[in-house]
Amino acid sequence: MSTALTVNGRPQAIDADKDMPLLWALRDELGQTGTKFGCGMGLCGACTVHIDGQAVRSCITPLSEAQGKRVTTIEGLEADRTGRAVQQAWVALDVAQCGYCQAGQIMSAAALLRGNRRPTDAQIDEAMAGNICRCATYTRIRAAIHAAAKALAAGEVR
């Protein structure tokens, strides 16, 4: 009954029902609470993680689907240069208000920038439309994604 996977570069063996959504496995079994619960139906994006580099909604991804795979959560994002660029832009522009949705926003943004180095406004809106922010920090999210893209292109991200 144990699922083996790598989380933020570390091997983990999670003893839980294979149907358990990855979200709850991360939060309750591993105690990694950076990934958030917002809706449980894949509608709000707060639970976004990367599995083998792809953004997925962990609240509707059963643990079995993560078996043997590399999971990256917000807690491990800084290991990646694109991730760091996004985090730095978020801090520089004071994107967050309450901040609860921002882990999911950042994970979605990082996945966007890995696949598209200079997204347009329309591409940002399309990629990020699955991430709800009730504080509505959207105008700054857009600006921060542009800023991160620019910084990456200019080689300014360590």
Partner: protein
């Protein structure tokens, strides 16, 4: 005239609270009605306003708020709850600036619930800086004075020969210096300076206040997933619980089959939580709780419960039918709240009248972090961790529920993943405390799902309003009659309450500054069938929607430019006494002398927003510019919104210009962010937000049917134009809520300008798409 000590029941609203209780209820200055969990009301103290009138008052003892470590780290207590308005940054920032501490060496400590120690902590009503700015300046100035005095003693020099600057005290004449860390212990032993001896910094010397350059204190943790919200609290042995709650207000458990649930893996207990009799107060709704070893197992087991409910008296609540009730109510005379001249006669005899009916549905807060709380019981004490806006009321309510004294309850305030008023009500914390007791004191975290949150909210009220005006030959209103029908927030606290409270009508219904000779504002008696609560800007939402839409309708009927008409209606620049002239006895709990309604400031924001938006220029086909102004929480806001409406009726918001006069701007960067976000929240409630009922139950269950704005619906451009204040001694206005009220009317005025179609019911939804 009854005195404050009169205990004869008053017929007001047909509710049997005595007059003293009503006055304290209504003079509490904010949206927590001074009502403790046991139903005792805090004593009214006449002629106290603002922060002085709030439970707990204001505290400015520097040693309560500041401590300095030997290494110079300055720890500043934040006694207000952080829900995105930046209070955990702005509150310590004021102290740091006044005491000349380096922001990089400041650490913020979140206060536990203890208003006797910290002063009022109820983070609601856009009051944090409005009430606490001066006390916080005194804290910083007093701390600075203590540090200087400590150095003076150490050096045997007069204090006035020393200067506190950038985390150290200097003797310029000799170059001697001591860091705050070296002085801290001695400073803490000194007697506190007298208040009237405190010297504030000059604004030109501010490093942080007013600059908008202070980075958010929690940003680094947020972007790394380290920030701890209520839902993230983890304790050894933590159990997780979810609750199946009665779907209808006032419902009770009838039958329960829990055998399957009890047998499921990880389930420790299935237990009934009793439902209290109405009124709701902050009581848990009751129901059936599942306690398990993790959240998902608890959720799965809850799904396996077989429950029958006795729904009770509200089982037929139906939004469509209730709308008929509300709309019928405003076609009749109501209780007169404010009257000038004779509006009825003027309307009856007028040759030209305009009438409009406006309807707004219930709204849910839908904070991204749903309600959640953690509690444990140890040695007869209860400790809770929760994202609460009102820590003291949480403490009192939990204590009462457990039969403890408040001193036996510790409330640890976490970050809030959104508040908007939902987390002022600690029902969800009581749930955790009761379940911990069921589990012999073991720590239990109760998590609400999104469906729980939407279906068991303290909802923003539903409303119907009728506005009628008589126009003279020049198109100016000679009569104005505004009738409101909306279940009152008081219904949550007093059974049978059917009329709005002064604080509800003081949010834009009675306090219109228009010098119309015949004016009547009336309220109908209507009952509540849901838990009614307060949602970011509260009754300002329906009142501003109706009033500001109606003014645009009058302008159109008069064939006049709306902006000019609005300015003419506001009248010349003057200061109105809210109580004496506008029948607003509440005035947000503030002194009418200190906070008059200033029509000059109202005119100024109208002019600023409209000018910035390019009012008057010809727009392309399908585009329109709409304008609205709202005064709320002592702040003047005008919104100018430009929309494009496609031939198929799709609304696109192109640009929003907000003009804001909130008095002194302590953290302009967070003011801007509150307005950027509040604009979008206002657009969302106007365009798509709706909670509706059928057979007593909320119909919506998640974000697929309760629609909130997403990034692709956000305007390309939101510009916030801040009106500078004269100086920092001017009274402050609030910032958290004022962005919201003018948005819906400005949007609908823009839609009218673009299409000629007038929206009078929210949400806009598909109304423009039909035919």
């Amino acid at each position: 005239m009854n005195t404050l000590q009169d205990t004869n029941p008053t017929a007001l609203d047909g509710v049997a609270l005595n007059r003293r209780e009503w006055l304290s209820l209504l003079s509490a200055g904010g949206l927590v009605l001074g009502l403790s969990a046991t139903g005792e009301l805090h004593a009214a103290e006449a002629a106290k306003f603002g922060g002085d009138a709030m439970p707990g008052g204001l505290v400015d003892n520097p040693l309560v708020f500041v401590s300095v470590d030997p290494d110079g780290t300055v720890r500043i207590v934040c006694h207000r709850s952080e829900m995105g308005q930046g209070v955990r940054t702005s509150v310590p920032m004021v102290v740091a600036d006044e005491m000349e501490a380096e922001w990089s060496r400041v650490r913020v400590i979140q206060a536990q619930g203890d208003h006797a120690r910290y002063g009022n902590q109820n983070t609601d009503g856009s009051r944090s800086l409005r009430h606490a700015f001066d006390p916080l300046r005194r804290v910083g100035a007093a701390m600075r004075a203590l540090l200087v005095q400590a150095a003076a003693q150490q050096w045997s020099l007069p204090a006035d020969s020393l200067v506190a600057r950038r985390h150290e005290v200097l003797h310029p004449a000799s170059g001697r210096r001591l860091g705050y860390g070296e002085l801290a212990a001695a400073a803490a032993r000194l007697p506190l300076p007298a208040r009237d001896s405190l010297v504030f910094k000059r604004p030109q010397d501010y490093r942080y206040i007013g600059t908008g350059r202070v980075r958010l204190i929690d940003s680094p943790d947020i972007v790394r997933g380290k920030a701890v919200y209520g839902i993230d609290v983890r304790l050894p042995g933590l159990l997780h619980a979810v609750i199946a709650r009665p779907p209808v207000l006032g419902g009770q458990l009838k039958t329960l089959q829990a055998g399957a649930a009890r047998g499921m893996p990880g389930v420790l207990k299935v237990v009934e939580l009793k439902s209290s009799a109405l009124p709701p107060l902050f009581n848990p709704l009751g129901g059936v709780a599942v306690v398990a070893s993790n959240t998902w197992l608890a959720l799965r087991a809850r799904d396996a419960l077989q429950i029958e409910w006795a729904h009770g008296e509200h089982a037929s609540y139906d939004s469509q039918a209730y709308r008929q009730t509300l709309e019928a109510a405003v076609r009749q005379p109501g209780k007169v709240l404010r009257s000038q001249g004779d509006a009825n006669a003027a309307l009856a005899s007028a040759s030209k009248t305009v009438v409009a009916d406006y309807y707004l549905p219930h709204l849910a807060h839908a904070t991204m972090e749903p309600p959640v709380a953690t509690a444990r019981l140890v040695d007869g004490r209860c400790e809770v961790w929760a994202p609460v806006q009102d820590p003291q009321t949480t403490r009192d309510t939990v204590a009462a529920a457990l039969g403890l004294k408040p001193e036996q309850v510790t409330v640890n305030v976490t970050l809030l993943g959104g508040g908007f008023g939902r987390k002022s009500k600690p029902d969800f914390v009581v749930e955790a405390a009761l379940l911990s007791r069921e589990m012999d004191g073991r720590p239990v975290q109760v998590t609400w799902t999104r469906q729980d949150d939407l279906q068991h909210d303290y909802l923003h009220t539903v409303s119907a309003q009728r506005l009628e005006a008589a126009l003279d030959a020049q198109g100016r209103p000679t009569a104005w009659r505004h009738r409101v029908a909306a279940p009152t927030i008081i219904s949550t606290f007093a059974a049978g309450a059917k009329l709005p409270a002064p604080f509800e009508i003081g949010m834009g219904a009675v306090n219109v500054p228009f010098p119309i000779p015949n004016l009547s504002v009336e309220a109908a008696e209507v009952s509540a069938h849901a838990r009614i609560g307060w949602f970011r800007s509260v009754s300002n939402i329906p009142h501003a929607f109706a009033v500001q839409s109606f003014v645009a309708e009058l302008a159109h009927a008069a064939g006049r430019d709306h902006r000019d008409y609005l300015l003419e209606l506001i009248g010349p620049a003057r200061r109105l006494n809210p109580a004496a002239e506008l029948k607003d006895s509440w005035n947000y709990g503030e002194s009418p002398e200190r906070y008059p309604m200033d029509t000059g400031r109202m005119r100024q924001v109208v002019e600023l927003a409209s000018r910035q938006a390019g009012w008057g220029r010809t727009l392309p086909q399908g585009e329109g510019l709409g304008l609205a102004v709202a005064y709320s929480f002592m702040t003047y806001v005008a919104a100018a919104i430009r929309v494009r409406v496609s031939p198929s009726g799709a609304v696109q918001v192109l640009q929003v210009d907000m003009a804001v006069d909130c008095g002194p701007q302590i953290n302009p960067e967070r003011i801007r962010s509150q307005f950027e976000g509040g604009v979008i929240m206002g657009l969302g409630l106007a365009l798509s937000g709706e909670i509706s009922f059928k057979d007593g139950r909320v119909l919506q269950s998640n974000f697929h049917d309760y629609l909130v704005p997403r990034i692709n619906e956000a305007p390309k451009s939101i510009r916030v134009h801040l009106v500078p204040a004269a100086d920092y001694n001017q009274p402050l206005g609030g910032v958290g809520e004022p962005p919201v009220p003018p948005i819906a009317p400005a949007l609908c005025n823009a839609i009218f300008a673009a299409t000629g179609r007038r929206i009078r019911q929210l949400p806009v939804g598909d109304q423009l798409k039909a035919g």
